[in-house]
């Protein structure tokens, strides 16, 4: 139990409306987008400024209390699950865009600013913030930095780490330290590059200087319809291998197509084995040539039909389907869990076949909607959490899929993070010396191990209470 005196002091810092500690109100915080495990914090603190974050952390440091940072809670690896961390620091009230510098293409945003707001703030100037996770209408910049988030368009434009120039970090001691900044090439270790993707284990990011980029002159958005996932996968390999760099290259399989079509009714072919959403962007002058080359590769792979978005409305409709596909999955099963493994892009056909075999072996339904061009798979394992046997099979199947990704030369996670979900799998990818180097790095920022403990690294597994089943909200 948190000492009552500490809660009172926290309340004095953040205000009466800045603390959540009634058990029923804490239910909202017991999990993020990863729902296989749940645990509620004892208190959620909602600071309004970086200085308040610092003050909160100083109070926790004095009593050596662990904490977990949280943005919007859209993460998919349980990164915000409080494990032996009684206090959650939620950044949702750090929601100011502090500066927009169009000429230098920089935006300074507080950690709780929603990803989409950044693009909204600069769109009128022909600029945008490139990382575009599907959760971008909700997820925060702080969360994106913690997870090094990606999105469909990162195939061409890079992930979060390529667009963050400066970070203000509140260390677990409470000290605020400004790392990097608006100007490139500052001498010294790339601490910004280390904080990005550290999953909140170095402290709490309070604000960031982001690079915004000029939006491309034009797009061609194609929907290629295939009879089988195999044929679509071959087309993916062919497009990348031919030296075409699409802005995005996304795959949806039949289960997803059917769910999305049921939800949005835009005329997707529900009898297709798979569709590829191919977007090519850049200077208008070359687009037809590049689109024709991509089309030729699809033809060679046996494409059934290629539709081209005729206008911005059709393009938007196609992207809405892709980005809300996870939500549409709610129609298929009460619960789902998605994996985020990566394979070398030419191994996409193999991993997709392997996923189908895993589904059959474990008697599970697995839907696929993923960043095919990056080799970043997102198999969605459908289940009903009231069926304990099915839950066990979901866990086993997930691990098998990740083992196959690693065996094919890939990684456990492309953009969702290790969180609590994949700590047990880390040794598949990294040896003891690699993990030791990472824990040494962690101790540089967090010598007491109080920032988001028990994440990323396979230490003594702490039991997380599994609460009563509850229907999963669609994200």
């Amino acid at each position: 139990m948190l000492p009552a005196a500490l809660v009172a002091r926290l309340r004095a810092v953040v205000g009466a409306d800045g603390i959540v500690d009634r058990p029923e109100a804490l239910l909202v915080y017991e999990c993020d987008g990863y729902t296989l495990e749940r645990a509620a914090p004892e208190a959620v603190v909602l600071p309004r400024t970086p200085a308040e974050v610092s003050a909160v952390l100083r109070l926790l440091a004095a009593e050596k209390i662990s904490f977990v940072p949280r943005g919007a809670g859209t993460g998919l690896s349980g990164g915000t699950l409080p494990v032996a961390a009684p206090v959650m620091i939620c950044t949702s009230r750090l929601d100011r865009i502090e500066a927009v510098d169009v000429r230098n293409q920089r935006v300074v945003a507080q950690a709780g600013v929603v990803n989409q707001w950044v693009t909204n703030a600069v769109r009128a100037h022909g600029l945008g913030y490139a990382p575009d996770p599907s959760s971008q209408p909700a997820c925060t910049i702080g969360g994106n930095i913690a997870e090094n988030s990606g999105g469909p368009h990162t195939l061409k434009y890079g992930v979060t780490t390529n667009h963050v120039l400066g970070i203000e970090l509140a260390l677990p001691s409470g000290e605020l330290v400004a790392l990097g900044g608006a100007v490139e090439d500052r001498p010294g270790y790339d601490l910004v590059g280390l904080v990005v993707g550290a999953e909140g284990t170095f402290g709490v990011v309070t604000r960031a200087t982001l690079r915004v980029v000029r939006s491309p002159e034009a797009h061609r958005t194609l929907l290629a319809v295939f009879d089988s996932v195999d044929a679509a996968s071959e087309a993916v390999s062919g497009i990348i291998g031919a030296g075409i760099v699409p802005a995005a290259l996304e795959m949806m399989d039949r289960l997803i197509i059917q769910a999305v079509e049921a939800a949005f009714r835009i005329g997707l072919p529900t009898d297709a084995g798979a569709v590829l959403l191919i977007e090519i962007d850049g200077p208008a002058a070359g687009l037809d040539v590049h689109a024709a080359r991509a089309t030729a590769v699809c033809r060679a792979a046996g494409v059934r039909e290629i539709r081209v978005a005729r206008d911005e409305a059709e393009r938007a409709a196609l992207w809405k389907c892709r980005k809300r596909a996870f939500g549409a999955v709610g129609r298929l099963a009460p619960n789902y869990c998605t994996q985020d493994g990566v394979v070398p892009r030419t191994r996409v056909p193999e991993i997709v076949r392997s996923i189908a075999a895993v589904a059959q072996r474990h008697r599970l339904r697995i839907a696929n909607v993923f960043h095919a061009g990056d080799g970043n798979i997102h198999p969605i394992l459908l289940y009903d959490e009231r069926d304990r046997d099915e839950v066990a099979r979901v866990r086993a199947a997930g691990r098998e899929i990740l083992e196959t990704c690693v065996a094919l030369g890939g990684s456990l996670t492309g953009e969702h993070g290790i969180g609590v979900e994949k700590v047990a799998e880390m040794p598949l990818l990294f040896g003891p010396d690699d993990l030791l180097a990472m824990t040494r790095l962690r101790a540089v920022f967090d010598p007491e191990g109080r920032a988001n403990p028990h994440k990323i690294f396979p230490d003594a597994k702490v039991c997380v209470e599994t609460r009563a089943p509850r229907r999963q909200a669609a994200v």
């Binding site: 890079g158 490139e184 590059g193 030296g243 002058a285 990566v342 030419t346 990684s411 492309g414 880390m426």
Partner: protein, 422 residues
Amino acid sequence: MIDWGGLVGPAWAAPGRADDAVDGVVPATVVRPGTVEEVQAVVRAAAEGRQALVASGRGAHLDLGAPPARLDVLVRVDRLARLVDHQAADMTVTVETGCSLACLAAALAAAGQWLPVDPPRPEDTTVGGLIAADLSGPLRASQGTVRDLLIGLRVVGGDGAVIRGGGRVVKNVAGYDLPKLHVGALGTVGVIVEATFKVRPRPAAEEAVVVACRSAREAADAALAVRDSDAAPLWLEVAGAGGLPEGPGAGAAVVVGLGGIGEEIAAARACVQRIAASLGLRAVPVAGGAALRARLGAFPVEPAAAVLKAATLPAAVGDVMERIAAAARGRGTGVRCLAHAPSGVVRAAVAESHAVAPLVHALRPELERHGGSLVIERAAPAVKAGLDVWGDPGPGLPLMRRVKAAFDPAGVFAPGRYVGAL
């Protein structure tokens, strides 16, 4: 005494000579390990014997950094030069760090690909040097820098263990992003032995357009107009007076690199010409864009007493170039400037050695006050003496000290070379 020859083979260990000096400090011994295991043995021996080592490839960029506080052994990794794995269809390449950029480029070109980083002297620049010194060239305007392309590393750490970070796939967030730690760290936290990069398709063709301007400020403004247009330049340099190795007149200029298929280049060329005309400037297309890019990347080709690298915001490039020119005039030296304009990086080649220290003192505080920096990238040891080559690394310095202590507890790796005398 450590038997270095016993660790790497007698043929690959020799006493250091004058031309092995790192910023004027001659190492007692030079070793050239032939395997990663031999690198590990050398690092272990150095750590146990409290010896200081500097890792080097072909020595092309050893001018960067402060003189080492101690130097016992120079570890040249140029024999570790294998192309380990080029998966052309995956657009990734894994290479040992002694491989030269020219050699790597030739292998990638055979598949129509490139690693789009273009520092000077690719024949003498190794992959390890590229990473450790965080080298870049004009292409950074559109392709980013090493940190954007590096996806995996193998490094021999302070205890001699091989540490792997990242991987071989283009998207990967498993564990901390350890490769970032080594980019630009000048070998102060380990000896990098293998790297994996994502590569990109080479543009079908390259061309350039030179826009002659009346002043550096005008050129910098014109460059941002090009950046903000649909020309989508591949690279974009701004030259102050004398900054171009050749070109129309001795004045300032914007040089716009264009890449892509014929239709794209034609449209971009027309776009640049329209912008130039609207500003009352003349735009001259130049065939052989790649060759011009290489010549600009080699700046400065003429001898200079020092090369300073100023980093600022893109919109301040013209102002910084004019301030550098004015400061140089005031101190009676010639200076030539060339900038990677969209990145805010200005290089200044200072002609006279007596002017270097006064210029650094005159320019650095103002740059740092606005979040920028001024680094002495190249100068003779006598010119560097008494100067802080790096300047203030900012409020992260205490954390950087702890990083150094965590990864190099014995103080083996290039002591004194890096920021804050790390």
